[in-house]
Symmetry: C2
Subunit: 239 residues, 2 copies
């Protein structure tokens, strides 16, 4: 059972990702939102890094929805923000959503560019993504998006919970080599029964709560409420 954890989007490169199963996490909120949207029938999600790229995609294909955030708020001219609660069945079923966020979509794009076999993880689908990563039979690298180049507690904790699920499902309990992976694993144990607490202990979670997004935090903390594994193919995210 070989796996590693990467602390921020900036640290993903071909050396640590190429040919491996790469699970990308941006728990608050991009990957939780992506899992939710696909769970509610969204056809596919196209992650882009800039607002200009998103606008360009809309010009080419006017029926797409634009989603995402800057400074945690909806982008001017976009259809949707970055709250999973906006991605209801009514809004997204059958649609293509082009999404750009500060850290999450950048982490996904870097993982794709680094030639990883990219899956999208969150607490919402932790168990299913753990199972899928095991089934691929390759080394698994869990990429935490982080926040503007900094270590994010909620991402590391979720990485640990996914590792814990992988250990439980595989029956292997060996600790991995990297110290960050061990730390994640231990923090996953600390918070597995109370993932919402990890959000309240984290600086980004505290910021979102202060902005009135407590319901987003509660949604993102719903461990194992979706049984689906988004994967990336030709720059698109599907299930």
């Amino acid at each position: 059972l070989k796996y590693d954890v990467i602390a921020t989007a900036d640290c993903v490169d071909e050396e640590n990702a190429a040919g491996k199963t790469v699970v990308v996490l941006d728990i608050l909120r991009a990957t939780s939102t992506i899992v939710t949207a696909l769970g509610f029938g969204c056809r596919e999600i196209i992650p882009v890094e800039t607002i200009a790229e998103a606008m360009d995609a809309k010009r080419k294909q006017p029926d797409v929805l634009l989603g995402g955030e800057r400074d945690s708020l909806i982008i001017s001219g976009f259809n949707l923000g970055n709250s999973p609660l906006e991605y209801t069945q009514e809004t997204v079923a059958g649609k293509t959503v082009v999404i750009t966020t500060t850290n999450g979509t950048r982490a996904i794009r870097r993982a794709i560019q680094s030639k990883g076999d990219v899956l999208i993880g969150s607490l919402l689908n932790a168990g299913t993504v753990a199972e899928a990563a095991l089934a691929k039979g390759k080394e698994t690298v869990i990429v935490c998006a982080g926040t503007r180049g900094e270590f994010s507690l909620e991402d590391i904790v979720a990485a640990g919970i996914i590792i814990k699920e992988m250990e439980e499902k595989s029956g292997e309990r060996t600790l991995p080599g990297s110290d960050l992976a061990v730390a994640a694993r231990r923090l996953g144990e600390v918070y597995a029964a109370k993932p919402l607490q990890a959000f309240y202990d984290s600086s980004h979670g505290q910021k979102l709560a202060a902005m009135g997004m407590v319901k987003d935090l509660e949604w993102c903390a719903r461990l194992n409420s979706f049984k689906l594994v988004p994967f990336c193919i030709n720059g698109r995210i599907k299930i």
Copy 2:
């Protein structure tokens, strides 16, 4: 109770250290060795970054002892390695030791250059260094030396144990702002009753154990066995 944790020596700079109380940790083994040496009567320790600097110091003052490591082993021509067990009363009492190690002495030097008020911490003196940091009444920054620019589990765990001691001694339990500090605090709780396990879970601890240095690990895990706080003044470490 304001504090932060810095993951590696490379991340120390004037912005995060100047004017603050900076506790430097290189648990395996430099700062554990420094605490041990001063506990056994060593007069003072001069941390230097290169072997050439150490040799130069000895030419100027022939009665100093040279100590330290490269690749965890004693340096050719030096009197002592980096094992705390070598720094016995018989060997070091009344002496000046010039020491150079891969990560620890670099972290100490960077903390001094960054104009921090530098204390030397370890598990051996965790409680006393926590008390001293509180008494200074300034913001405390705990600098983990790390291993060649990477996050080290044993240093982060020790940072968490020192934060835990600070919280207990001050009666304040507020979690701090930085996510790394929260993670350290939680990991400190996980390992406080079994610090040796943190070494066996860490890559550097595993490496030292494989090299036959289990007794060093056992020594470095002796929580609160010295009541002393080394501090830096004019480039020297004293108690």
